[in-house]
């Protein structure tokens, strides 16, 4: 089959690789119909996530048709149309029982490796390094889906791919980012990052009853999409974010701040950017945490900082003084996707939500390298790329 493979920093190639098969009784094999490039794929592309190997198949947002099931799968049948959540979760461990699917205790066969870097291992993830399982991803024609009786959700044929595909990752991720803010009537929410996840966080926060949502980015076309989803916007290259937020909230600060940016944030002050970039290059620090720092400083006293942007390792200059002295709450996590799939699918089905508004490009799988370049450099107003393997 054809698959998009990581070949080193800033290089992906579509190659012929062996078809996946059933390895374990609870596996299924899915013939992929749509597969997206995610913002967190750029952290792999840029080489900031450790334990990637040349030839690893990328992609963790995909859906398709079940073509094979192992003897242990009783919930799916060949021919079912499914969306596959990106965290691989067993359903039987304490974490899964408590709905913490992205920290499943059983799905990472390389848990020892992850423990050395992270202390404890989170769940395995499709196409996201050997530290997180070494599972081939879904930017391919087929994918093997472990614990297929727990993750994938069956969708009706009348819902097109582009409406349901993002149930696999970015829609529930944005939703969880807003949910962690525990939004109450009158709340003002600030969202750093107007990428697709930030755009979904904006839409979710409004659906949950936020009074106002303010979205911060530097690309005007992305801010426009966020504005269409209902946000007020700040372009941080033109406006000082802290001043603007203080002004917009009459001195209170946002009640909750969502970091939908993560480890490769940009910052308009060149000296600060150079400092973190240099530390990152020498691996004295793996992640650039500007958005996180700013979110903490901006948040109102006693507010919540919700982190859904991806961080991989260590950060420097964490504003602990501000965080501690002002009674802030920090909430984080890779999305526990399985928890949100059913309720969000219901909202999509009843027409309350149409996630397809984030898509700007449809490409053939063969064009994945072009898609990565375009998405990384924000060319052609690229917001979200969907790949079609067939």
């Amino acid at each position: 089959m054809k698959a998009n493979c990581w070949m080193g920093r800033n290089t992906v190639e579509v190659q012929d690789v062996p078809d996946p098969g059933i390895l374990n009784p609870r596996d299924a094999v899915v013939r992929i119909t749509s597969s997206a490039i995610c913002g967190s794929d750029l952290h792999l592309y840029d080489g900031f996530v450790p334990t990637m190997k040349k030839g690893d198949v990328l992609g963790h947002e995909f859906m398709g048709e079940v073509v094979e099931v192992g003897p242990g799968v009783t919930t799916l049948r060949v021919g079912d149309r499914v969306v596959v959540p990106f965290p691989i979760s067993c359903g039987g461990c304490l974490a899964c029982e408590n709905g913490l699917f992205s920290v499943c205790e059983n799905s990472n066969p390389n848990a020892g490796m992850a423990e050395k870097l992270l202390g404890h291992s989170p769940a395995g993830i499709f196409g996201y390094s050997h530290m997180l399982g070494g599972y081939p991803g879904g930017q391919a024609q087929y994918a093997r889906v472990p614990f297929a009786d727990v993750g994938p959700i069956v969708v009706d044929d009348d819902l097109p791919d582009e409406k349901v595909l993002f149930l696999s990752d970015i829609l529930p991720t944005g939703w969880m980012g807003a949910e962690m803010c525990e939004i109450k009537p009158g709340d003002v929410i600030a969202v750093w990052g107007a990428g697709p996840v930030g755009q979904f966080a904006v839409a979710s926060a409004l659906l949950m009853g936020a009074e106002r949502v303010i979205c911060i980015d530097r690309f005007s076309y992305r801010l426009q999409i966020a504005a269409r989803a209902g946000a007020e916007t700040i372009n941080y290259e033109q406006t000082d974010v802290l001043d603007a937020l203080r002004d917009m909230t009459a001195g209170r600060g946002p009640d909750a701040c969502i970091d939908a940016v993560g480890m490769e944030a940009h910052y308009p002050v060149p000296a600060v950017h150079a400092y973190d970039r240099a530390k990152q290059a020498t691996r004295a620090e793996t992640d650039r945490p500007y958005a996180l720092r700013e979110a903490i400083l901006a948040c109102r006293n006693g507010g919540v900082v919700s982190v859904i942007g991806v961080y991989a390792g260590l950060i420097d200059k964490f504003p602990m003084g501000s965080f501690m002295n002002r009674s802030l709450t920090l909430r984080t996590g890779q999305c526990h996707v399985q928890r949100y799939m059913e309720p969000l699918l219901a909202r999509i089905r009843e027409g309350a939500l149409d996630p397809s508004f984030v898509i700007t490009h449809h490409l053939d799988l063969e064009d994945a390298p072009r898609g990565y370049e375009m998405f990384k450099h924000k060319e052609n107003e690229c917001n979200k790329v969907v790949l079609h393997p067939w």
């Binding site: 390895l23 080489g47 450790p50 067993c90 039987g92 205790e105 848990a111 050395k116 599972y135």
Partner: protein, 305 residues
């Protein structure tokens, strides 16, 4: 041998380490003085040999002072003592008139030191309460989200062990609590031994040891306790094994991989997977499952360039 005596041996080994350091510095820095004091005369090579011995003493010092349990390492000093005595003997045989008395005194002193070294090394070599061989200890623990009765039963059925212990090929029960264990080594060599269950407290503890004459002496126990707040069962494993010598020993050591501790942790993790999910998690990136070969490549994670 008591714990206290054993502790003493390690303390003595430390003192000997400092003696080595002092001697080494002296021999390297002032070889002429040393040559005169021991009565080696004015042989042109004596100075060089003393310097070399000094370097060796510094090596002993590094080995002894660098270890937290240095007593068994005193054997390196004993080997050095033997070299020194041989050298002194040769000098004596050459009957250097003026130096003979000094040489005799030096030989007596070295003999005394040798005796002290041997006593320390022998005492330190025995771990308290264990047979007189070095046993390697591995411990690991994990919480399994299943009832204690179920977890205990699965383990007690020792034929199940190869389902999650990566280096085991089979465990066959024989009558009377005995069992036959087989592990697959590299190059298709099997390592086999018999073991017996020496303690079996229902739903609490299983302890086993290899029987007399096994190629790989080992013993272990697994304890089962309730995790607090209905979080399942805490499983604690404690294994002692004797890294044996020879070809079989080497094969066995390699079976345990480069990181035996990590191997035991991973075995327990697979046990949890089997108990909680019914299978061992496998990815195409690590497809070997419970085949032993994977252990050969097991390394701690490293960021890629």
């Amino acid at each position: 041998m008591s714990e206290a005596e054993h502790h003493n041996a390690h303390r003595w080994a430390g003192v000997l380490g400092w003696v080595s350091a002092g001697l080494g510095v002296l021999q390297v820095a002032a070889p002429d003085t040393v040559v005169r004091v021991i009565g080696a005369g004015d042989r042109p090579w004596a100075r060089r040999v003393v310097r070399l011995i000094g370097l060796r003493e510094l090596f002993h010092a590094a080995v002894l002072l660098g270890s937290r349990r240095p007593a068994p390492l005193v054997w390196t000093r004993v080997a050095g003592d033997a070299m020194d005595l041989a050298l002194l003997g040769r000098l004596m045989a050459e009957r250097e008139d003026g130096g003979r008395r000094r040489l005799a005194a030096s030989t007596a002193a070295v003999t005394g030191i040798t005796f002290a070294d041997i006593v320390t090394a022998v005492r330190g070599g025995h771990e308290p309460g264990l047979p007189p061989h070095r046993l390697t200890n591995l411990r690991a623990a994990i919480t399994v989200n299943r009832p204690r009765r179920e977890v205990y039963r699965f383990w007690r059925d020792i034929e199940n062990l190869p389902r999650f212990m990566i280096h085991l090929e089979s465990v066959e029960p024989i009558a009377g609590g005995y069992s036959h264990w087989r592990a697959k080594g590299p190059a298709h060599k099997s390592v086999e031994w018999d073991a017996e269950i020496i303690e079996d407290q229902t739903e609490q503890l299983i302890a086993w040891r290899s029987v007399e004459g096994a190629t790989v002496r080992n013993r272990g126990s697994v304890r089962f306790t309730d995790a607090p707040g209905g979080r399942g069962t805490e499983v604690r494993v404690d294994i002692d094994y004797d890294p044996p010598a020879g070809k079989v020993g080497l094969a066995f050591a390699r079976l345990l991989g480069e990181h035996p501790q990590q191997q035991v942790c991973d075995d327990l993790r697979r046990f949890k997977q089997v108990m909680e999910t019914g299978e061992v998690a496998r990815s195409e990136g690590s497809p070997e499952g419970t085949r032993a070969r994977r252990q050969l490549f097991q390394r701690p994670a490293q960021p890629v360039r």
